[in-house]
Symmetry: C2
Subunit: 330 residues, 2 copies
């Protein structure tokens, strides 16, 4: 009896794989003069060009068994788009480098590419290049270009500024915890929000652009390593100190019900991909208007000094340690 087996990437050959990617990439949108298929692509460069790169590595950033490939394709682009959002920019182009085990199923690759393409279409990004190699674990490296008019760095926070975050924090870390405990992702029910936050994060591009356009934000970062670490980045780069009220940290009902340490995940869980930004008092009304379109929460203020002071729900103040997730933790 003939055994039925799936087609593997190693059966297709590199050129066939690249041809698949090429066929599925966009046309002349986003100023693309020459797309995939030559030594380099040629695009129209904006006056202020943003560049950012992010990697996803199997068993470090995701597990193949629990991460649907379509969503992994989306996320591998969206984590980069979140960096563009944090600058207040508009994304333009993407190139993707992939190293795959030779026995990777062709269907897995097709779904990954379909997800990447879906996110690219949703956010108006043109896939213009790539590279393919072989490795024992799946590694995905995406570089994205963007266009900035006014852009917002991490270094502009000043004493007196109010600190805001978008959305709720800790959901992605909660979703990861559920997955790691062996739970299957559910896209309905009260845990859906947590799974979605980890598996299918949405970059805050509109919000970032709105905050940059009229210079509403004085400093901005996307929360990828956890609030404590990323607020520390703003404080260090701006040369200021932050005071935050932990009772004000936005935490979803789903997270409160799902884990026993929601505040810890909200402070130190990674991959929220929400925006953390500071606002001068004179821009309070502008933020107020934006808060009708986006979920925004004021969590504290910038003062002179260094470090972060946290007021705990019991009323006591303590320094907040940045113990968020990082690679190569000592």
């Amino acid at each position: 009896m003939k055994q039925i087996r799936s087609v593997r990437v190693s059966d297709l050959g590199e050129r066939a794989v690249i041809e698949r990617i090429r066929q599925r990439s966009g046309g002349r949108e986003r100023g693309v003069i020459l797309g995939i298929g030559d030594d380099a692509s040629v695009v129209r460069g904006p006056a202020k060009l943003l560049l950012t790169t992010d990697m996803l590595v199997e068993d470090c950033d995701f597990r193949k068994a629990s991460f649907p490939p379509f969503l992994l394709g989306r996320k591998s682009l969206c984590v980069n788009l979140s960096d563009i959002a944090a600058m207040g920019g508009k994304p333009l182009h993407a190139v993707v480098g992939m190293a795959l085990p030779g026995d990777t199923d062709q269907l897995w690759l097709d779904r990954f590419l379909a997800g990447f393409r879906a996110a690219a279409a949703e956010y108006g990004v043109a896939l213009v290049g790539g590279d393919l190699s072989q490795a024992p674990k799946i590694m995905i490296s995406v570089t994205v270009t963007g266009e900035a008019g006014k852009f917002v760095t991490r270094a502009g926070a000043k004493p007196g500024d109010v600190i805001y975050v978008s959305g709720t924090l800790g959901d992605a870390a909660g979703g990861l915890r559920l997955l790691e405990s062996g739970r299957r992702p559910a896209m309905r029910g009260r845990e859906a929000r947590l799974f979605r936050a980890f598996l299918d994060p949405a970059p805050r591009l509109e919000l970032g652009a709105a905050l940059a356009r009229r210079a509403i934000a004085s400093a901005m970062i996307d929360i990828s390593d956890g609030l404590a670490v990323d607020l520390t980045h703003i404080c260090e780069e701006s040369g200021v100190r932050a005071e935050i009220d932990l009772a004000k940290i936005p935490i979803s009902g789903g997270l409160l019900l799902a884990v026993d340490n929601p505040l810890d995940l909200a402070l130190n869980g990674g991959e929220d991909f929400e925006l953390l930004f500071t606002v001068k008092k004179k821009n309070a009304a502008a933020v107020e208007r934006l808060s009708r379109r986006f979920p925004l929460t004021a969590i504290g203020r910038i003062v002179r000094g260094k470090g972060i002071a946290a007021q705990y729900p019991d009323g006591r103040g303590r320094p907040l340690e940045a113990k968020g997730w990082e690679h190569f933790r000592p």
Copy 2:
């Protein structure tokens, strides 16, 4: 007795590693408005922006034991610069994604970065961003931007054009073969050229730019997968056929002495990073002038049809099969 051991990347922590990279990257050159250290970098975008990305994976593209980290740093940038050269462009910026095993020696990383920095300085490239992750094998993903005025694609070859290559072919494959047989790289002696071709390839940026500037080349590609495969790319993209004279393929004396199949390596060995290009007859004098500054060899001509016909040294003509190196070979 206290044991002396080297510092590992995992002892440093991710932020310390990124700080090392940041300190070692350039300043405001190449239109860099905001360099490493924010969510994205901001650079001045040229009117015609080139984008290319390449990956190097341990045990697929190099072995850690036999590849000096300083040279690996250089090569990880230079393979991308070769793509910019093949478009006739000028390189501008680079971002680098690295996934490293946690036990990677700090000295290894420092030497890698020193090599990357040395090549960046040599070719005028600004390192503007990066990402760091953990993986069981070293993976390096570099994306480079460039500027193109006139650029040369793979698709412009026409019947009657003469086919040229720069340098000598097969040396890198010969060097790899020596390394794989356990030989230590020697930078002197008759095999030095082979080791250098594999370990420290030089992108043909000046030649590529000269060929593009006055539209001397009608089609161009860098030879990364071997002459046969890369000439096939030009033929397919241009819709033409190539006739080459194998007796004219430039082969170094070092390669002739080192291996028993030099012609096979010259045709099908990868990573030469020489330029393969076609030239209209009216530009013969211009190429002749360039050949005083660069080692150029005419190896055949473009005709109507498809595929590649090779005239063998015995005078017989046979079709040439593109069996060059590729990832995921079936």
